[in-house]
């Protein structure tokens, strides 16, 4: 029985112990006062920071920078070169064929010696030092000169057969007469006489070929040859030496010529090219940003033609511009047409050409063209009608740099439209435009004088549909030339205010779209009829541009009437833990206004159906701060506290809502315009004071 008592006591103890362990923690209430969030609202929240400038005294100036127009150098002086055309009939150019050589040796003459004794003496003296006696009347049998590897036949209009005879013997010869005939019919091509030719001497002779028909295999025959002898002096007699004969047809102009042509130019021309499309400009130098030489050719030449086009005035790193190419050969008499191009970008082109009179001519450069056959080893036939036509032009030139007199031009600006966003955030804000300044800022990187004539600036308020025209007493702005070294753009500003324009009325309309039209006139004051007064040192570079900007500056003085800012923030995904620990409390919105504009604030809590479930708002407006009317600097701020009492149910409703709408409405205290300083803010602090259930766990 006693043991049962002890057992019972232990069981009771264990059970009670279990009960005690179920108590996990102890809780108590603590009153927590804590900042939750803070923010500040300044003018920068109302206006994009790109739209205002902070002055040294912290006041703000509404600024707008609107680029109206920008003219690049390539818009100013694009040009082409004058095209030149070269057409040649190949027959008009003297053509030279390849030469053919032949040796006429002593042994060929031996049989023509009548004396058997003397024939025997010569044969016995071969390769020996002997005295050669004089004798006359030798001749050689006709010998073929095979030239069909050079040409097969030619009907010659004009031309020559150049013969070269060299005496390879050790003694002199005289009274050499020879004939050249076509082998086929024995027709005589020509003949010649050499009076005397000393040992080792070379004699040239020309046989006119005008009107003759020449074939590829000729017969060369020496009809008479006298031996002058060695005058008793022993000389080496070599029967295998004699006369070296070389024959070449030169300066041929043939009706038809079938030949293998050696390398030879049949075109060599110099050209003077003037620039086109530059009006009254007088350019002395350009650096070509992009451009090309274009050569279009028409060729019936039966062989490939190589050409070389050179512009000595175009240089890059001391290299001259050279365009070397080929015209494809015409096949079967069909004309070959093609266009070849070569980039001339990056070249400096000297356009101040030295004339034959010793002066300089702007806008002009010289070029050279040569063209002709290259040796191909191919036998081709040229007819009298074969020709090559070339059209050569410098085209599509955009300069990177131009120097000289850049001409008198007029460029139209517009009519064009541009968005004018200076008022985009300020629809319900009235701005005092008493001190407004609107300026046309012109920046020129061009080394020439210019003038801008403003034709029209209209401002459209697209919300109201009202258009106002900006009128001004002086619509022209002159701008001087930029300085080239060191490069310094020039500036000109034309300021419009209430004394010289209707700018206030123009801006009061709060335009958001500008329509503008203007003209830019270059060298407006240059009289080109007096050459000596023309400024030839004007310049443009590809860094040069001509910009017209519209700037607006308005010292910010505002008057607002029911200007509201509203934002809807999704909070459905915002999960706060331990909300159940907050029993009740107060959310306090502490507002301190340093802005000279009063405001009311409202927070509206929406459920998923966008139905308001709660709201917080200031019962009375936050008063406008007192500020210095001249500088906008704060004198005294105004404070207000908005308390939001809640129990846990209201807090849960607030924090489990779907959206919160923040809305602030601003109103100026009266009709006065208030100057704003950047430092002035509406400071907002959200503070929570609530009973929090603290757990020891």
């Amino acid at each position: 029985m006693k043991r049962l008592k002890y057992l019972f006591l232990i069981i009771i103890t264990v059970l009670l112990s279990s009960c005690f362990k179920k108590k996990e923690s102890v809780t108590w209430d603590a009153k927590v006062l804590t900042p939750i969030a803070y923010s500040s609202l300044g003018v920068e929240n109302l206006i994009s920071d790109t739209l205002y400038r902070v002055e040294s005294d912290s006041s703000m100036t509404l600024v707008s920078h609107q680029s109206l127009y920008e003219l690049k150098i390539d818009s100013l002086v694009p040009f082409d070169g004058q095209e030149f055309v070269e057409r040649v009939l190949i027959r008009d150019f003297p053509i030279t064929t390849r030469d053919v050589s032949h040796n006429v040796i002593v042994r060929d003459f031996v049989n023509s010696i009548p004396s058997p004794f003397f024939r025997a003496y010569l044969i016995a003296s071969d390769d020996q030092m002997v005295e050669v006696p004089p004798f006359k009347g030798l001749s050689s049998p006709p010998q073929d000169i095979v030239a069909d590897a050079v040409f097969t036949s030619a009907d010659i209009i004009t031309g020559n057969l150049n013969t070269t005879v060299r005496n390879d013997l050790s003694f002199a010869l005289a009274n050499i007469t020879y004939t050249v005939k076509n082998k086929s019919d024995g027709s005589l091509i020509g003949s010649g006489v050499i009076d005397t030719i000393r040992a080792g001497e070379t004699v040239h002779n020309i046989i006119p070929l005008d009107g003759k028909h020449v074939e590829g295999t000729l017969v060369y025959e020496i009809t008479n040859l006298d031996v002058v002898g060695s005058n008793g002096v022993p000389v080496l007699l070599d029967l295998d030496k004699g006369l070296f004969v070389n024959v070449v047809a030169t300066d041929l102009k043939a009706k038809e010529l079938t030949a293998v042509f050696p390398q030879q130019d049949f075109i060599q021309r110099d050209f003077e090219t003037e620039l086109e499309g530059i009006k009254d400009k007088r350019l002395t130098r350009v650096r070509i940003k992009s451009g090309k030489i274009k050569i279009k050719y028409y060729s019936t030449a039966p062989d490939q033609v190589k050409f070389t086009y050179t512009i000595p005035a175009a240089t890059i790193n001391a290299d001259t511009f050279k365009f070397i190419g080929y015209f494809n050969r015409a096949i079967n008499g069909q004309i070959m047409i093609d266009t070849l191009e070569k980039d001339i970008s990056g070249f400096d082109l000297d356009l101040n050409m030295l004339t034959e009179m010793g002066g300089f001519q702007p806008n002009t450069f010289r070029s050279k063209l040569s063209a002709g056959f290259e040796y191909t080893g191919r036998m081709v036939t040229i007819t009298e009608n074969d020709s090559i036509r070339m059209e050569i032009k410098l085209v599509d030139v955009i300069p990177a740099y131009a120097k000289g007199y850049l001409g008198k031009d007029t460029f139209d600006i517009g009519p064009a439209t541009a968005n004018f966003d200076v008022f985009k955030d300020l629809e319900n804000i009235n701005i005092a435009f008493d001190e407004v300044k609107l300026s046309l800022n012109i920046t020129s990187g061009a080394g020439l004088e210019a003038k801008v004539d403003v034709t029209k600036i209209d401002g459209l308020n697209s919300k109201t549909g009202v258009t106002t025209t900006l009128s001004m007493t002086q619509p022209s702005v002159s701008i001087p030339a930029a300085i080239e070294t060191p490069f310094t753009p020039s500036h000109a500003t034309h300021t419009l205010d209430n004394t010289n324009s209707n700018i206030k009325a123009f801006l009061d309309n709060k335009p958001d779209v500008l329509t503008y039209q203007a003209k830019v006139i270059t060298n407006p004051n240059t009289d080109t009829s007096i050459v000596s007064t023309i400024d030839m040192n004007q310049f443009l570079t590809d860094a040069s541009s001509f910009k017209v900007d519209l700037n607006v500056e308005v010292p910010l003085r505002l008057n607002v009437n029911n200007f509201s800012i509203m934002d809807t923030t999704l909070i459905s995904d915002f999960a706060l833990t331990n909300i159940d620990k907050i029993k009740d409390g107060t959310l306090s919105l502490l507002l301190e206004n340093e802005i000279p504009i009063g405001m009311t604030m409202k927070l509206i809590v929406l459920d998923q159906l966008d139905i308001p479930v709660d709201s917080i708002w200031s019962q009375t407006p936050v008063l406008a701060a007192d500020v210095d009317p001249n500088t906008g600097k704060l004198i005294s701020s105004k404070k207000q506290r908005i308390d939001y009492y809640f129990d846990n149910a209201r807090l849960v409703r607030l924090l489990t809502a779907d959206k919160i709408i923040f809305k602030a409405v601003f109103n100026s205290a009266d009709s006065k315009y208030s100057k704003l300083a950047i430092n002035n803010k509406l400071k907002v602090n959200l503070v929570g004071k609530f009973n929090y259930l603290v757990s020891s766990k």
Partner: protein
């Protein structure tokens, strides 16, 4: 009545100290060395929670037995607060066994679990924690020198006990394993709450250290280990009038490893979450203020450190002098090695109601509190079971809001 039963249960649950009172020592030692005894098996629990003044029993009762601390309870403490206040809780639970090898030598075995919580806190710290900072609007809450240390460890001990005539000496060596360690110290701390609540300024030099707190149980987490020495002495005079017992337990140290340590000496200004644009803000701004990131926001980088710490060893000396067959006087001196613990001196008297039942009453000064009273009994039950109880609950029961300190010391042992 239920309240006191729960208090006893709580004492067991919250752990306690072995019954090293001289009355129990007298029974256990004299019984073991009789020829008929061979084995002694026993267990004890001791729980002591006390404060030097402020935290009264009513507040502690609420923490222990209730789930909600109301304003009355908090105010009851607040009006007793000093600039700095101490509070401590010491708990120990022991299972022990002695096996007599021969008539004068016994082998001893102990398994124990010990918890020590010690805290010093400023009055503002208490107000801040339990009342919140709203009452400090426009004021600075001074939190300097507030700290709390907690260690939990388990010991397994083997030893020998030798009887020399009328003196019994014992010695044992313990292996110590640390289950949990926490140390939170604010050497300097000032929290200013703006009058309108728009900002908080916190200027502090704070060190936060913990090990083993992530474990489900605080037992045997092995976040540290060490060794300790236990010594005991017992003497009973030939006449039996004078009994002396002395026990020194847990004299040793532990090395605690992988302590997560955060330290910062800095000032923080908190104005809430900055919203750059009031009318275009993202609620996600609040995400960065989740609790997990607080350490990062405060720029408190975690370090892993180790430290060696002396265990809170306890020395207890007891003296009992029998004035007659029925009446005896008691004198006890106890020292616990921890900050804010004053050596405790106890005086008391024992009345032997019958041969098997004695009752006693004691008055003590020192320890974690100031003056405390104890009542208890020792009774010999059948099967040679000895039951001992010493309770400091009267003040709690009679005037809980005006008293501090509650303790329970229970012991049971049996001779085989």
């Amino acid at each position: 009545m239920k309240k006191y039963v729960l208090l006893v249960v709580a004492a067991i649950t919250l752990n306690a100290q072995s019954t090293d009172d001289v009355i129990v020592q007298e029974y256990n030692t004299t019984s073991l060395y009789k020829d008929s005894a061979k084995v002694l098996v026993g267990g004890s629990v001791e729980w002591e929670a006390n404060s030097n003044a402020a935290v009264n029993n009513s507040f502690v009762n609420t923490i222990v037995f209730k789930s909600y601390i109301d304003e009355r309870e908090k105010d009851g403490v607040i009006k007793r607060l000093r600039t700095l206040n101490d509070m401590g809780l010491y708990g120990n639970e022991v299972f022990y066994a002695k096996y007599k090898l021969n008539s004068s030598v016994a082998l001893t075995f102990n398994m124990a679990n010990t918890d020590l919580i010690r805290s010093t806190f400023s009055s503002d710290m208490f107000k801040l924690v339990f009342k919140g900072n709203a009452d400090f609007a426009g004021q600075t809450a001074h939190l300097s020198n507030s700290n709390i240390d907690y260690i939990n460890y388990q010991t397994i001990s083997l030893g020998l006990e030798k009887k020399f005539n009328r003196h019994v000496l014992g010695a044992g060596l313990s292996y110590v394993t640390v289950g949990q360690y926490q140390s939170y110290h604010i050497d300097r701390g000032d929290l200013y709450t703006a009058t309108d609540g728009t900002y908080l300024d916190f200027n502090t030099d704070i060190t936060l250290q913990s090990a083993g707190t992530g474990a489900k149980s605080r037992y045997f987490n092995n976040v540290g280990a060490g060794t300790a020495l236990n010594l005991s002495y017992f003497h009973k005079s030939e006449s039996g009038k004078l009994v002396i017992s002395a026990n020194l337990t847990d004299l040793g140290f532990v090395n605690i490893n992988n302590i997560e340590s955060y330290h910062k000496d800095s000032s923080y200004h908190f104005s809430g979450i900055r919203i750059d644009n009031l009318f275009d803000f993202d609620m996600g701004s609040f995400d960065k203020y989740h609790t997990d990131s607080i350490y990062k926001i405060l720029n408190m980088n975690k370090e892993s450190v180790s430290k060696r710490q002396i265990l809170p060893f306890k020395l207890k000396v007891g003296l009992k002098y029998n004035l007659s067959q029925k009446v005896a006087v008691l004198y006890e001196l106890q020292y616990l090695h921890t900050d804010q613990y004053m050596p405790r001196v106890t005086l008391g008297g024992v009345y032997k109601v019958c041969e098997r039942f004695s009752a006693f009453a004691k008055v003590a000064t020192g320890g974690f509190g100031r003056v405390d009273s104890y009542v208890g009994f020792n009774t010999l039950l059948p099967l040679r079971i000895n039951l001992y109880a010493s309770l400091n609950v009267l003040e709690n029961a009679l005037a809980s809001s005006k008293s501090t300190g509650t303790s329970v010391n229970l012991g049971v042992s049996r001779i085989f």
